[in-house]
């Protein structure tokens, strides 16, 4: 599928990356848990934009339908069920010391992965091949090349849903 954009893809990429990363930070740092869930949803929409840039519109649709439509809504309902009367307890003070350590670990890991990728950059493909990747190819590949994982996925999905129901059921 040929995606024609009025603005160059570099600009779109930078905007998407900024939105995604800032929303992810907001998801973890927002004072109210509800705002954090909304930040998570915005971050997922940004990632769906990356999938569109990567010629995977089906994945973008799946991302928005499942993550933004189901997971974030589920999280919002859970927050409403779990929230206390006085709101979320503020645990900022005890996070101080661990915050610095966690920031160091996470920063070092991310910088080292990015550095390795940048070093290997010349060996990696610079431009995507021009061959088209039709969306309609995904379905046949799913049922001809990977039929067993698909069935196992369906079974695990139903088992997980039953398990979640069992766990959340109120015994009386």
């Amino acid at each position: 599928m040929e995606v024609t954009l009025a603005v160059p893809p570099d600009v779109v990429f930078v905007i998407l990356a900024t939105i995604t990363l800032l929303a992810a930070i907001l998801a973890l740092q927002a004072k109210e848990l509800i705002y954090g869930a909304i930040g998570l949803g915005i971050s997922f929409i940004g990632i769906a934009g990356f999938f569109v840039l990567l010629d995977a519109p089906y994945l973008a649709m799946l991302q928005i339908a499942i993550y933004v439509g189901a997971v974030v809504v589920l999280i919002l309902f859970t927050i409403m069920l779990v929230r206390r009367e006085e709101g979320e307890e503020v645990t900022e003070k005890s996070e101080r010391g661990e915050g610095a350590a966690g920031l160091w670990i996470a920063g070092l890991l991310a910088v080292s992965i990015a550095g390795i990728a940048a070093l290997a950059g010349p060996n990696l493909a610079q431009t995507p091949p021009n061959a088209e990747l039709p969306v309609s190819e995904l379905g046949p590949v799913l049922v001809t090349q990977y039929p067993v994982p698909l069935v196992i996925l369906a079974l695990v999905l139903s088992a997980a849903l039953l398990g979640a129901l069992m766990l959340a059921k109120v015994e009386r």
Binding site: Y67, G102, A164, A168
Partner: protein, 102 residues
Amino acid sequence: MVTLVSYIVVSAALLGIGIYGLSVKRNAIRILFAVEIIVNAANINFAAFTRYLNPPTVSGQVIVFYSIAASAMEAAVGLALILVAFRLNNSIDVRKMDKLKG
């Protein structure tokens, strides 16, 4: 110029944010946020690598398909567990969940 490295850098940044959340946050729902962010960082990598392969295949997209389904299940079960923990402890602070400690 958007290359494969650009996607890897964004994915690494998301992974870093997620690991920060995993190691620092005490609220169980926040930890679930962090897990979801990490899974999404991995998904970006799969989609990017499969796009830059020559000749192109959809195998990476299939893996992302399974990963999205698995992570939806994980969110459902995780949130059910958080509800149970809230009923038992009246709190979702993971540092207070020490009933199994000897």
